[in-house]
Symmetry: C2
Subunit: 222 residues, 2 copies
């Protein structure tokens, strides 16, 4: 059996979990409390981060980018990067958009301040950081609306890793109830379609000790 070391509210782990789900690959999920810096874990990934995938051949693949590219090469059906070379470039541009830009400006700020900070430094959220994160989130939701208005899925005609990366990050912000869906109807409609996919189910039952998900988090008709 495959094993995925993960943290429930980690957007990068969620991206990998969605890819495994879309490709219908079984996996055993193992929570890794990376902040404990467990020695056996540092041996399999010296970067000390999740996600880490141990595959059916007991090979270790670290870093969400390397894992999703590996899974798309090893299990090409369905293709999640796109078929044509420029579609693949557009999928990767948007995956990097969400994993770098959205992560830095929104996920890291809002989810860290509201949900994770207390685990690391026992401090409450910083209101300036929260304000900046919320403003950036609206800018990103605007961009998602712009894309969703012009394309079937975010990167084009096909459902790809661009949708998966975007939904992985947004789902963590939605968990803490900070997405103003009603102000961004096209983004909401796109997210509803992603959220209804069978691969998404695993994310909707996630629990984090000490944090309750927002009331509509698991609701497909939010």
């Amino acid at each position: 059996m495959r094993t995925l070391y993960y943290i429930p509210l980690c957007a990068f782990c969620r991206k990998v979990r969605l890819v495994l789900g879309e490709k219908k690959l079984d996996v055993r999920l193992e929570i890794e409390q990376v902040w404990r810096r467990r020695e056996e874990f540092l041996e399999i990934n010296p970067a000390g981060k999740v996600p880490v995938l141990v595959d059916l051949n007991q090979k270790i693949i670290s870093d969400s980018y390397a894992i999703v590219e590996y899974l798309d090469e090893a299990y090409p059906d369905p293709a999640l990067l796109g078929h044509e070379i420029y579609s693949r470039a557009e999928t990767r541009r948007l995956m990097a958009w969400f994993d770098d830009k959205f992560n830095l400006e929104v996920t890291k700020t809002l989810v860290f301040e509201k949900a994770l900070k207390r685990f690391f430094i026992s401090e409450g959220p910083d209101s300036n950081a929260l304000r900046a994160g919320k403003a950036s989130l609206e800018w990103h939701l605007d961009y998602i609306c712009w894309l969703a208005d012009r394309r079937n899925w975010l990167a084009g005609d096909e459902f790809t890793l661009a949708d998966i990366a975007a939904a992985a990050h947004l789902s963590t912000v939605d968990f803490i109830g900070h997405v103003p869906w009603d102000k961004f109807p096209e983004a909401k409609q796109w997210y509803t379609r992603v959220k209804s996919r069978p691969s998404f189910r695993t994310l909707l039952t996630d629990q984090m000790p000490g944090i309750l998900p927002s009331t509509h988090y698991a609701d497909l008709d939010f």
Copy 2:
């Protein structure tokens, strides 16, 4: 002709330039002062970042990860990700290691504080940040020694994007003269081999206004 929008001391642009050089692809280099947020540039890349490649079909490819994956798909000889699926996963793990971890802990800190900060906020370097960056750099050089001691190139038998990403980041730190090469002989030996490749020549003549490169920067026998 292809065009690459870039900044001379940007490690991510250097990664793309090395890939273009290894694949012997002609390119016109165009400096983009991203901090000016030029409207025509934001239209081709709303993330406002370099590198951006405009290819022979006038197609725009943004984000260094999307660009290098695109170039390796479009021009597969020489293959820079590796041939076998697990080698490719290892190459990508290390590329992410340097582009994420090394960038955050070393490049962003040292190169930003010493060379780029004055352009953005007209302030001198922060000595605490410099100290932290130097300590992290030694830890990373240790890891490069560990890899170089066990493998022909960083990711295995072949020269790959792992070597290119590592050298791209290190070369920016070397430009400002902050790599303690003599304390890390295996890393120095590996870097000498990368630096001697014809693809590297373009980096050695780079100039940054107001900053002189370290005396040994362009020297192949440093």
